[in-house]
Symmetry: C2
Subunit: 476 residues, 2 copies
């Protein structure tokens, strides 16, 4: 970056120039310049730095570049990042020893802590509380699994996944979700998106594909990239309107346990209808059981797959139950699709880490997975209850749906108020999505206003503040 | 499977019928039938079972079905599988407690050991010795890394990869391979094939692509699927014939450290020429540094990337150095390609397991990776020496190339003798490939006869027997 001087006066209320010249990339230059400014005292202790997004826009840099510069300086002790108070110059402007990052004997640069990369309140749907990852139990399983693994586990991997994991999953899914699962019909993958890629990108299934009128935009994009035409179904309190399925579609992607994101489970009548539709011809239902473990007010409803194992692809992952950092998912396939999926996957396992597979197998077998799900269910239920109570007290005019299960709620807003609520949320540092973001552009119903609030992500100590912040941005 | 009786008389020299009826899938039925036959004594202790491929063909079952039935019975203790003696009925026909697999308190089926799935001698190229995986050191790194990780490590992953790993890789690659690596320009992926998919399937680079006239068929297939036209270069003792590169190609895929699979490093003159070709226009060289760590008779040659970091994509993985079971690789990218690769990868990490990333970062930082590579280099060099000595003694007419480095050698055979040698190897239970399998169909040189012998895979105690077996199949 050549000869660039940046004036931070407007941003931090102080006249400050940063010299972004010198060797190395842009991140290195910015890091060096900010460090120099802190060291020299030009940036005083306690000064609040501009949000990295703003500074990135000012400097014409990528957001990540600025976020990383901040994070590196946090790791080095020049800056502090705390939820709720932004990134500030550290009280004592001396590089402290930030633990792990610069422990003696570790060569190389300090890994950025990336603390500055977070919104104040992260209420995006679909993310479990990262602070609740069961580190000790996972490490205990890793130790047992890696120690006991046969040598061939360290050779090229079977694209079906490790047999230990497929057997453990078959037992678990049969017991907890009513899935009729033969380990031979299970194929491990790196998450639900990978499953969709294998099914459609790999030529196993073809469109037209019926989808729910509300769903994850990321899945729609992925399907569009694979050239799959999607036709959206209506969605109501009983889930997707299965009666709208026609003979034109060859497959349907459904979330029977908990319509995503609006709420309820698919009604019994519609479950039967969906199975019947698939069985009446050569059709497939893909059952996205994304949060089937988290039921609060009623008994869990078994997987649709149990009704028609020959016509349903049951797909799940650990992304909601454990962590999206463990890149593991699975498909329980109708027998006649197994070879095609394996052909799409390739001769060897190219994706799912085998050591994580072995560890998850042990984690399931020894009961740690059950214990973790039970603990998280209690925690999320308590949060849900607190959310509902606060809502009834402070915003009784706002109706919440989808709250009997899962990690998020949909707050229904008066028509036309969603954009203003989203703006207010952004200003308050709350990351969340509007309901409109999940609507299929061709959905057979008008757009509805709402906020999709994930209540799982904040750590326990920060949940109250996040809740208050959401209540404040709701329309009066 | 309905009413099927199978006569194994021809296969095992005994009149035996297996009842493959009953509940469950085909594997379950076969497992049950074989178990019953062993238990009843109809299959006597020591009886050698037919190879699973033969039995699968006889029964009209998938090979994996039979392999898994065998493996399950091995795990349960009814059968034994040893390299060199096939699968036999266990001496005492009682179910032993095969450790982990059926330890008390573990519900569900026993994980098959898959011991029956292996050739007698596995000499396929490109596979490190799976018995040498550094389990203890890896687990120690996992413990440190997972314990010390910040909470956000368990949230959605950064598609660039964890900063801890990118920083550790930058330091390691600069130190050992002369790569000019800014952590910001590193993108983690799940292996070299994933890197190719991101570059070409993701629209980052386009063909026509120059490739070496010898290369991995899997890469050619992958590129063809992505619609990339490839033009093969000649290959000689100095590596790829860089002089054949033209202005028509927009990119070139090279193995400068060790032409794959034929042998030598790219000569200094050609390295300069390749860098010049890329720099003279908007062209990119992809440097596949697949086994850059394993040099035996000479100093390692630094990466080509060091000559032209703005025009070279340097790609590596742990698949050869550590294990293909750890699905981790990396690209060091020219700065102007980083955003495009990240766009191809998606907003969140969908592939590379974050816990493995953290573990590998610690493994690199604490010196375990260096120690492991050093140990393996010594071990592979000793094997290479033993191989060369045996060859000189027993088959002096066979010339070996590519033996100064890597995990394999190419044995040059007299014209027309490759097919017979491959047949003989298959009959002897040796898994290896002929040189012709690696030749690009349009390579500008005639087919040559040879065997590509990977000498890294067999465990130490089996290496001598594997070597003898190879010598026996060479043409006289």
């Amino acid at each position: 970056m050549s000869e660039t001087w940046v004036n931070l006066a407007e941003r931090i209320g102080a006249d400050l120039h940063l010299d972004l010249t010198g060797p190395g990339g842009r991140r290195a230059a910015l890091t060096r310049a900010l460090r120099a400014a802190v060291r020299s005292g030009r940036l005083a202790p306690g000064t609040r730095l501009p949000p990295y997004r703003s500074l990135a826009a000012d400097l014409g840099l990528a957001r990540n570049t600025v976020a990383d510069a901040y994070a590196e300086l946090v790791a080095e002790g020049w800056l502090t990042a705390r939820q709720g108070s932004g990134t500030r110059v550290a009280p004592r402007a001396e590089p402290s020893a930030p633990g792990r990052a610069s422990a003696p004997g570790r060569a190389g640069a300090s890994p950025p802590a990336r603390g500055a990369d977070r919104p104040v309140h992260d209420l995006r749907q679909g993310q479990p509380d990262p602070s609740s990852f069961p580190r000790s139990a996972w490490l205990a399983s890793a130790r047992r699994a890696v120690t006991a693994a046969p040598n061939d586990a360290f050779g090229p991997g079977d694209p079906r996944g490790r047999p230990e994991l497929r057997h453990a999953l078959a037992e678990y899914l049969a017991r907890t979700r009513g899935v009729r699962a033969d380990p031979e019909a299970i194929v491990v993958c790196s998450g639900f998106a990978h499953a969709l890629r294998l099914l459609f990108g790999g030529g196993v299934l073809r469109g037209p594909l019926a989808v729910e009128g509300y769903g994850l935009p990321f899945h729609r994009e992925l399907l569009a990239q694979a050239g799959v035409r999607t036709r959206p179904l209506g969605v109501d309190a009983d889930g997707a309107r299965i009666g709208e399925l026609s003979a034109r579609e060859r497959a349907a992607l459904l979330t029977p346990a908990h319509q995503f994101p609006t709420g309820g489970p698919l009604s019994a009548q519609r479950r039967t209808a969906a199975a019947g539709w698939a069985c009446s011809a050569d059709r497939i239902v893909i059952e996205d059981d994304y949060d089937g473990e988290f039921r609060y007010d009623r008994r869990p409803i078994g997987a649709l797959q149990g009704l028609a194992p020959d016509r349903v692809v049951y797909a799940g992952s650990v992304s909601k139950s454990l962590s999206p950092a463990v890149r593991l998912g699975w498909m329980v396939l109708p027998g006649h699709l197994v070879d095609a999926v394996l052909a799409a996957k390739g001769e060897r396992e190219a994706w799912a880490g085998v050591l994580d597979q072995l560890t998850l197998a042990d984690f399931l077998r020894c009961g740690s997975y059950d214990r973790h799900v039970r603990r998280m269910r209690q925690r999320y239920r308590a949060r849900r209850d607190r959310f509902v109570t606060a809502l009834a007290e402070h915003a009784p005019h706002v109706h919440a749906t989808g709250i009997a299960a899962g990690l998020h709620a949909v707050l229904r807003l008066p028509p036309g108020t969603e954009p203003a609520a989203l703006d207010a949320a952004a200003r308050a540092g709350i990351a969340l999505d509007g309901l409109s973001a999940f609507r299929h552009p061709e959905a057979p119903f008008p757009p509805e206003d709402g906020l999709v609030v994930g209540y799982a992500t904040p750590p326990d100590h920060a949940f109250g503040a996040a809740l208050d912040a959401v209540l404040r941005v709701l329309p009066r």
